[in-house]
Every structure is written in C-alpha cells, then in structure tokens.
C-alpha cells in the first residue's frame, strides 16, 4: 500500500452539541479515484469544509503529502496542492473564463507577488491557460464572462480552475449536480480524463458517476466512516443498502 497523499486522523467537528463529524480517519492514496457517498446529513459538506480549511476541526488532524495542514488557512492549502470545486457553481461572474484560468496559472507561478508584471507580459501563462481550456473544449467561450456561460460550461471551467493549480489532490464536490443531460457526457469524459497523478476525491450522489469512476468508495453515515471498499463490495453490502436508502419504497 502506498502512502496516502491526504489523510485525516480522528477528525471531529461539533456545532454546539451536534457532532457532525465523528472521529473520522480517511485515507486518500496518490492518484486515487475515491468517492465519498452517504445519505442526507451524513456530514459530507462539513468534511469538505474541514479538508479545505473553511472550517476548523474541533479535534483531530489533516495531513497532506506528509505535512500537517490542520492549522493552515484555506488559501495556503491550495499552495500545498489541495484544489477543490464547489457543490453549487461558484464562479467570478464578470471575469472571462480565460482571465480566471490565467489568474489560476499566475497564482501557481507566484506571479501575484510581482505587481509590476503586466498581464500582457504573461505569455507562457496565457498559453498554458489556453491549453487547459482547450482540453475541456472551452476555447470557444474563453472570452465570454463566466456569468454568461451555460451551467455545464461553468462547471467545466470550475474543474479547469482547480486543475490549473496543478494539485496533488482534487476535491470535486458534486461535480454533476445540476448539469443538464446533454452536457453531462462532456463533464463525465472530462473527469475520466483527469491526469492520473492527481488523486481525486469526489462527493457525489449520482450513482452513475460514482460507479463509473470510483475505484474506492467511502460511505459516510452520521459523520462516521460506515464502510469503505471497492465499488463491488459497497454495492453488495446489505448494511450500506439499508442505511443509505433509509427506507424502501413504502409499498
């Protein structure tokens, strides 16, 4: 077994008396395709927020690439190689898709520390951004403001933005949510073609996507890791079935 690129140790988060994440140990291997599923209120969003640094854990630790990042602010975790997308499309409405990706590339290359550099002088970065957009078939809309893009294109742009940071771990929060059927194939193939050296942790409830891509599945129930295994194991596990469904059709 390889060393995990991202893992948590005894992660807990409580809101008042309510414990949302409970003593969670999660291991994401390098290059993994890891899905996180679970019924409503299982604490998936909270976990994402704990991993990305939006929330601070009540106790426990988060390690990235052998480094304790528990205390790092969100932005600095991105510098260490943890990128994410959002559940509900989160974009810069008045920036063009191209500008946003250029920004992501420039940030990665630490050009934000150099305010004397003009954007028009960022030729290699521009070309790299263009390539990224090209890989996802977005060059046609590159110069349009993100707010005007179709929803599917926005979601793709979000993945491009996350990838442009060249992360070690990519966290996809319900990438397929709200994407219309005709666009979902483009999205699926984009996810399929994500670079193999990037570990992908995706939170999804679209089982089609989960079983198509996941090599490992963690079922989260009430803030705890309920089951973990390869898709076939999870699919055939009667406990998972019972817990995840909550109930069968009532008649």
């Amino acid at each position: 077994m390889t060393d995990p690129v991202l893992f948590t140790q005894g992660l807990c988060k409580s809101f008042g008396a309510l414990r949302v994440t409970n003593n969670l140990d999660l291991r994401i291997e390098a290059g993994a395709r890891h899905a996180l599923i679970g019924p409503n209120g299982a604490g998936k969003s909270t976990l994402v927020n704990l991993l990305t640094g939006v929330l601070k854990p009540s106790s426990g630790r988060v390690w990235l690439n052998g480094e304790d990042i528990t205390r790092l602010p969100a932005a600095e975790r991105v510098w260490k190689g943890l990128s994410r997308t959002f559940q509900v499309s989160t974009i810069f409405p008045r920036l063009t898709a191209f500008e946003a990706v250029v920004l992501a590339v420039c940030r990665r290359e630490r050009l934000l520390r150099n305010p004397s550099r003009l954007l028009s002088g960022c030729k290699p970065q521009a070309e790299e951004a263009w390539d990224f957009l090209g890989r996802f078939g977005l060059t046609g809309v590159a110069d349009r403001q993100m707010g005007e893009l179709a929803y599917g294109q926005q979601r793709l742009t979000e993945i491009v933005l996350a990838l442009a940071a060249r992360p070690k771990v990519l966290l996809l929060d319900e990438p397929a949510a709200g994407v219309p059927a005709q666009d979902s194939e483009a999205l699926f193939s984009a996810i399929e073609n994500l670079p193999r050296d990037v570990a992908v942790l995706f939170i999804e409830h679209d089982m089609e996507l989960v079983f198509r891509f996941a090599e490992k599945i963690t079922v989260l129930v009430a803030g705890e890791s309920f089951r973990e295994g390869v898709p076939a194991e999870i699919a055939s596990d009667p406990d998972v079935r019972r817990v995840y469904l909550g109930d069968e059709d009532d008649e």
Binding site: P39, E174, G178, P180, H205, V210, F211, E248, D250, E251
Partner: protein, 263 residues
C-alpha cells in the same frame, strides 16, 4: 356528469433564471379537482416549473392560464390569491416566526381554517409556540403543507414533500397527503421521487426530460408500464444500486438566479 372545467392550462412555456433557459416549450392542462404527478430525473426542471407557475422564475414566453385567467406577469402574491399554494422542496421555514404565526400570516378565507389544519396535523398544534427553525424535519414538512393549506389553494403544488424524512415520518406525512387528496378532494401537482407513491395518488402524470415533456398521460398506465417508467425516469438506469436514487439525496435547486437551478 359533465366534463370537468380546466383549472390550469399551460402552453409552450419557456422559462429559467436570469439569462438561462431551463424549461422549454412545456404544455399541459389540468382539470379542476384532479391531481397530477410531475416526474422526471433530478434537475430536469420540475422545481423550476413550479417556480415559474408561482412567479418566482423568469417566464420567457408561453401562456399560463389559471382559473381561466392569464396569470403570467402577475405578482407572486396575486397568484396565491388566485388559488395557487406552494409547498417548496426546501420547506423554507421562517426562522423568526412561530408555528402559529406561520399559519396566521398565510390565512385566507376559505374552507381551510386553523382548526381544520390543526385537525389534520395535531402535532403542529402541540408545537404552535415553537419557532420554525426549532422543528424536526417531519414537522417542518407538515408546517409547510399546513401553511400552504391556510391560503386555501384551489391547486396545491407539492415539491418533494417526502424528501429527507425518516421512514416513520414518511408514512405519517404521506398519509396526510393521501387524506388531503382522497378525502378532501384537494387538487395537487406532486413532484416526488417516490414514483409509485406519486402515481398511485394521482390521476394524471407528466414526465419531464431536459426541460421538455417526455410523457403525458394517465398515472395508472405509467405505473403499470415498468419499461416505460424505466426509460422515462431512469429508475433502474446507470448503476447496480438499483432504485437507490429515489432514496438518495436530492439536489437543492437554489432560489434566485444562481445558475444552480439550471438543468
């Protein structure tokens, strides 16, 4: 018995949020006193259709006739006065209002009175002094339904009323809805992932796919045509965890113009 009056008539309706278009060219009619199941996969635009009927989404073109009156372009509250009631998927409790206040502000003259609503949901009466945010999921759902009933709707739009409820509560709320339809004769449009429940309860069914009408006909026919049901709603498509989508999470369609509501 004469043929029933048309309560709701929709014609080539096209709508969305902001610049986006989510439902395209939808049309159907609903007779007075009858009920309709509105089905389709997640994100096909069912909630958006509701929001368009209620005046919260942007209607691009088409006609919405309700009670023989064109209501497109009228304000959302005028539509409530016309007789449209709404039980939103997100329940949309008012955190700073008590249960009793939720019912009081929605109160309009008609057959549904506070006593009758409390009769239908005795649990709400017990909790009438509690704030909206302090209720359990099931109680919130009951309150959402009760609140809509207080407006005395001729047509009640129910958006996934059983979503995210514990099994026992599903039964309780489901029974209430059934009583509402079968005993009180309330006309409803029901969006529900529990397809069988929805189809058994209603007379007609409408299935949407990608913002368009994919099936329009009798609920019973659809219920008894497993193949068609599979094709239309994808109950068994995609995964080997068959049917689990119905119990899984449902995407929240955010209100407002965030693009998250697009299908």
């Amino acid at each position: 018995m004469t043929s029933k009056r048309v309560l709701l008539h929709i014609e080539s309706l096209c709508a969305g949020y902001g610049e986006s278009i989510i439902i395209e060219d939808i049309g159907f009619s609903l007779a007075a006193g009858s009920s309709l199941a509105l089905l389709g996969r997640n994100g096909v635009g069912k909630s958006t259709l509701f929001r368009t009927l209620l005046g919260h989404a942007r209607q691009r073109s088409g006609v919405i006739r309700f009670n023989d009156r064109d209501i497109s372009g009228t304000t959302p509250y005028a539509r409530v006065w016309q007789g449209l009631g709404w039980v939103p998927q997100e329940r949309l409790m008012f955190p700073s209002l008590t249960v009793a206040e939720h019912l009081a502000i929605a109160d309009r003259k008609g057959a549904w009175t506070l006593d009758r609503v409390y009769g239908l949901f005795p649990r709400l009466k017990e909790r009438q002094r509690n704030l909206g945010g302090q209720l359990s999921g099931g109680e919130q759902q009951m309150l959402a339904i009760a609140r809509a009933l207080m407006t005395n709707p001729t047509l009640l739009l129910l958006d996934e009323p059983l979503e995210g409820l514990a099994p026992i509560v599903v039964k309780e709320v489901g029974d209430c809805i059934r009583r509402l339809v079968e005993e009180e004769g309330q006309a409803i449009i029901l969006v529900e992932q529990r397809v069988k429940f929805a189809l058994r309860l209603t007379e007609a069914a409408l299935v949407l796919d990608r913002g368009r009408v994919a099936y329009s006909g009798s609920s019973n026919d659809l219920l008894n045509n497993a193949r068609l049901l599979d094709d239309l709603i994808g109950l068994r498509s995609g995964s080997n965890l068959q049917g689990q989508r119905s119990g899984g999470e449902v995407r929240r369609e955010p209100d407002g113009i965030t693009a998250g509501g697009q299908s």
